[in-house]
Symmetry: C2
Subunit: 136 residues, 2 copies
């Protein structure tokens, strides 16, 4: 556990789910409604550093959460992503503690077609509570 | 196997690696040098449709290939992604046969910061042969 790491110190009560090796949380700056993170409990910095057992737990959790997003939030599609960018200075753009995104997508959204950076707004307490309840 | 599916009918000799349940190929329209795909042998359309055994094979192969990309191509970082977009008409933008991308990244590349669509050029035979040899 690293004291300065946002995922090592995140409030556990804001979790959607807990498995043996990971937590599921709402993304703090969601790209779309239902944007969630799968975060290993331990501070790994890459897929390469993760034991197979933890990787298997993560990917099974992704499968479970994708099913819930479809069943409960009626999402139309999803992007699954993880970024390993040790070259970026620690910032909002990079968290060293590995985390996997599931980002609900629709045909008409403009994510990735946006010109330049997308402005991401912090999720409200109300929306966060709704999402946690919905996906628990 | 689906006759009309590009990944069911891809030339097997162009593979980088074969595991029990998947192949690794160079991406046909790479976003960066070393952009590869991990493709299950069977035609699954989503993570949700994949048996755990196949999912575990895929994620272990991602781990292996990320190590090789760092060791052999000296890449500085990588994006790992999979897109489930059943709402998009079958096209260059969507292949129903699931595939997982590993996209090497550098601090200075402009991927995702580009305005609008990125023009993706087909990989040359020479570059493809080089990449297969390098990562085999």
């Amino acid at each position: 556990m690293k004291k300065e790491c946002v995922f090592c110190t995140i409030k556990k009560e804001e979790k959607i789910l807990e498995t043996k090796h990971c937590y599921v949380y709402p993304d703090k700056y969601p790209l779309s409604r239902g944007h969630i993170l799968i975060v290993p409990k331990k501070h790994y910095e890459s897929i390469m550093a993760m034991p197979d057992e933890v990787l298997f737990d993560v990917i099974k959790t992704v499968k479970l959460m994708e099913k819930r997003l479809i069943q409960r939030l009626k999402v139309e599609g999803m992007d699954f992503r993880e970024n390993y960018r040790p070259f970026v200075p620690e910032s909002n753009l990079r968290k060293a503690h590995i985390h996997f995104h599931i980002i609900p997508r629709t045909f008409k959204d403009m994510i990735y077609r946006a010109k330049g950076e997308i402005k991401r707004k912090e999720i409200s307490e109300k929306d966060k509570a709704w999402l946690i309840k919905k996906l628990k």
